[in-house]
């Protein structure tokens, strides 16, 4: 009976302890990755390779996501706005929704699926094939060589991809507005651009920086603690996508609150 009680009480305690340990390890890895930016050596070639892989390599899916999201927003907003006789405001709605929310979040989620999983599986494979141990044995810090370049590349490229996603999304909305809803181009674009405030643009650039950090660090963290051979690599890949997606959505909530709080100062 006492064993049963011990097990019953022990399980939640172990879960809590493991969760705290994970948070601590994630924080340490992130702190080391950031500290490496300011000390030598910095692997510039590796950063450029990762920027190409993450930025240029993700261009197609980001553009397609942005375009169709903008177009769908155009269609949906028209049916909602028509009830209030405000269909002409489609440009505003598409623009605000994309720039404030969907552009950054969808770009980050697409990147989590494509890049986060790729990073986790690449680093996970390196762990199970002892390449990480070999790297350390040869005197290289894997955090400096592998994690920091991926973090920098993702943090730099995701805001750029988000800007493109927003722009293409607005173009998608414009096509619907112009050819389906018969709203003039000048009205659509004038509404779309003029409705944006400094806080909207700021938020649209701040979010992808944070989300990019989450995608890269989660992929690296999960990848580096892979165990259990090829099956473990598969597990890590799935875990990286799920964890970073949840973190992105949770962080989006807090970032929105922060941006709403500082918006008056930014727009003043």
């Amino acid at each position: 009976m006492s064993e049963l009680l011990k097990t019953a009480l022990g399980a939640p305690f172990r879960f809590l302890l493991n969760a705290l340990w994970e948070v601590q390890s994630y924080t340490f890895l992130s702190a080391r990755a950031i500290a490496n930016v300011f000390t030598r050596p910095v692997y510039f070639r590796e950063i450029l390779i990762q920027m190409d892989r993450i930025g240029v390599g993700s261009l197609t899916i980001i553009l397609l996501t942005g375009f169709f999201t903008g177009a769908v927003l155009g269609i949906q907003s028209e049916s909602a706005l028509r009830r209030y006789g405000a269909a002409s405001l489609t440009g505003q709605l598409v623009s605000l929704t994309l720039v404030r929310e969907l552009g950054p979040v969808l770009s980050a989620l697409m990147l989590a699926g494509r890049i986060g999983s790729g990073i986790a599986s690449e680093l996970g494979s390196m762990v199970v094939s002892e390449q990480i141990s070999a790297m350390r044995a040869l005197g290289t810090d894997p955090t400096r060589r592998l994690v920091t370049p991926r973090m920098i590349a993702t943090v730099v490229m995701l805001p750029l991809l988000t800007i493109l996603c927003n722009a293409v999304g607005m173009a998608g909305g414009w096509i619907i507005a112009r050819y389906k809803l018969l709203i003039s181009s000048s009205q659509y674009w004038s509404d779309a651009v003029n409705t944006l405030e400094v806080s909207d643009v700021f938020g649209s650039l701040l979010k992808p920086v944070v989300f990019g950090f989450i995608v890269a660090m989660t992929g690296c963290y999960v990848g580096l603690r892979t165990h259990g051979g090829t099956e473990g690599v598969g597990r890590s890949t799935t875990q990286a996508v799920v964890s970073s997606s949840i973190l992105i959505i949770a962080c989006d909530f807090f970032l929105n609150n922060l941006i709403i709080y500082i918006a008056p100062y930014l727009n003043a």
Partner: protein, 294 residues
């Protein structure tokens, strides 16, 4: 290392071979494990093990899978930390060192991993020259010369531009050996380098290890459960002829090897320590059972 001054194998004329500290390496202890304990979660892998390796000596660590053989190598490189005990490398306790300090200690070691552990995204040239590229002390041309010399030593100079995916299992191990030799390490650690190889490729790898031991005087630790490969290392030696040709011979009635010792791990403890002859003559039931697997 290849190109370095050649040394004679530590051989002794006929009779039973003794492997005391005084007779083995020319210097003092290179590596010392003092009461080292290591556990993973609740599984104790090593229990207060102690041994020492002198310069120029080859230590063959035998044991069943999961007996802690590879853990010893990882501890020695500072890739993992012991729970208790001291690990001395040239008299300095690496168990108490920071990661930054360990980087300097690791320069004294070359490690050959079980599957080669070559970096997939780098060519054979970049893999072998990795340490030199990282240090940034030499120019491209100088690195190229060293890389070609190391690849020549393992007989793979033609593979310099290939990617690891284009190499066979045996070739990967040989490139791994070439990579471990770069930087003139004082000690080479072999983690099951012959596991899963066909007999011919295994022979090639063992010959390379014997050449390094006898012609270059490299201290080495060979972790394996491959008894035939361990026996080859313990009973054969290489010598360079006047014409530069390398001759392999079997130590037997005329000579026996002095600088090879065995450790057999049994449930995290050292079940046996001694020479090849002492291993074969041991009456310990676990040693007999282990040797009976041949």
């Amino acid at each position: 290392m290849p190109g370095r001054k050649r040394r004679q194998s530590l051989l002794r004329p006929g009779g039973a071979c003794m492997t005391t500290m005084a007779q083995t390496g020319p210097g003092g202890p290179m590596i010392e494990f003092l009461n080292v304990t290591k556990s993973f979660d609740e599984d104790v892998v090593l229990r207060e093990i102690s041994f020492r390796i002198t310069r120029g000596e080859t230590m063959i660590i035998l044991g069943a899978s999961g007996s802690g053989k590879s853990t010893i190598l990882k501890l020695l490189l500072g890739l993992i930390r012991p729970d208790a005990g001291e690990i001395l490398v040239e008299g300095r306790n690496i168990a108490a060192m920071t990661e930054r300090e360990l980087v300097h200690v690791r320069r004294a070691f070359g490690m050959v991993f079980q599957e080669g552990a070559l970096f997939d995204s780098l060519s054979v040239r970049e893999n072998v020259g990795y340490r030199l590229y990282e240090e940034g002390m030499l120019g491209e041309d100088e690195i190229e010369v060293i890389v070609r010399r190391m690849l020549g030593f393992v007989g793979l100079e033609d593979a310099i531009d290939k990617m690891p995916a284009e190499l066979s299992g045996g070739m990967k191990r040989r490139v791994g050996i070439a990579r471990a030799l770069v930087g003139n390490p004082k000690v080479i650690l072999y983690d099951e380098p012959t596991a899963g190889l066909d007999p011919i490729t295994k022979r090639t790898i063992v010959d390379l290890m014997i050449k390094l031991r006898d012609l270059e005087g490299v201290t080495s630790i060979f972790v394996t459960h491959d008894l035939p490969a361990a026996e080859m290392i313990a009973t054969e030696y290489a010598s360079a002829e006047n014409n530069g040709e390398i001759r392999f011979a079997r130590a037997g009635k005329e000579f026996c090897l002095l600088n090879v010792r065995f450790i057999l791990l049994n449930e995290g403890r050292i079940g046996f320590e001694g020479s090849y002859e002492e291993l074969n003559q041991s009456g310990d039931p676990y040693v007999r059972a282990f040797l009976a697997r041949r």
